[in-house]
Symmetry: C2
Subunit: 137 residues, 2 copies
DNA sequence: ACCCTTGTTGCAAACGATTTGCATTTGCAT
DNA sequence: ATGCAAATGCAAATCGTTTGCAACAAGGGT
């Protein structure tokens, strides 16, 4: 059960320099099971290498996004949050009380979206589906 | 065929003071067929009353959102855009080439979302579905 | 192992969108 | 008309993010 991509070789292959800050950030997002924002990544990074700057975190996240290594999410009110691009596509349910993000996937839903776009004469490039709710009790 | 809500009496009823800037902004969003952002609303407002400030536009939009009179959308990269809350709920398809926003609605889709949230033990408060695509040719 | 070139960094300042403190004005109930 | 709380304009503050620039370091060539 292979869990994480080997980002380092991927980046190397993409002609990107493997610098110290990048290694640290790569390690962090590779291990993250949550959806940290830039500041959270920065805080975790500083623990490993105190000289890393927030600017570098932002630059690196942008780079990784362009390389398709991470996905950027802009949930309501709040900074962008990232997750590594392992695994298959999924959408998000955000718990309004805790901010926790729950992932889900529905093939039916995907198909339905494509069908709708198709009827409107469009090809979907990507989409964004977020459900905001509270735990039923 | 009644087209626009009578925001003024609604607001009055909600105990909100009907000030000059608010009347102007109300008129603007009542007539808007597009999805203007705060700056666009401000520009249109200044033409009617030159003394209106951008801060008041922001304050008023927040107020109207809380009253349920307008909906705020945060499409990818760019300021929040508003639309009046007339008519029924719909989602958006954003044309990546033109930035044009196409509205659509699917009852099946809505139901499916609710069902998914339900299975996860959640009640949906609201959701956000945006399709980003290009016109098929 | 040591350059050399060029990409990358840290810092601080700049940025765009939005919010806020405060003194002044204004709606509107009396 | 009068008074008072609510709303305004202005400028400064805030938040998340980007950028200019001089110092620095990765990693290919020698």
């Amino acid at each position: 059960m292979e869990q994480h991509r080997d980002y380092e070789s991927e980046l190397r292959q993409a002609g990107v320099r493997l610098t110290k800050p990048r290694k640290v950030i790569l390690k962090i997002i590779g291990e993250s099971e949550d959806h940290p924002d830039a500041m959270a990544i920065f805080r975790r990074a500083v623990k490993i290498d105190a000289s890393i700057s927030l600017a570098t975190v932002y630059r690196t996240m942008k780079l990784l996004e362009e390389l398709g290594a991470v996905h950027r999410h802009s949930f309501e009110g709040g900074p962008a949050r990232f997750e590594n691009a392992d695994g298959e596509h999924h959408d998000h349910l955000i718990d309004l009380d805790t901010g926790k993000v729950i992932e889900f996937h529905s093939e039916t839903l995907e198909k339905l979206q494509e069908q709708i776009a198709d009827e409107l004469g469009y090809d979907i490039e990507h989409h964004r589906l977020e459900l905001y709710g509270r735990k039923r009790r």
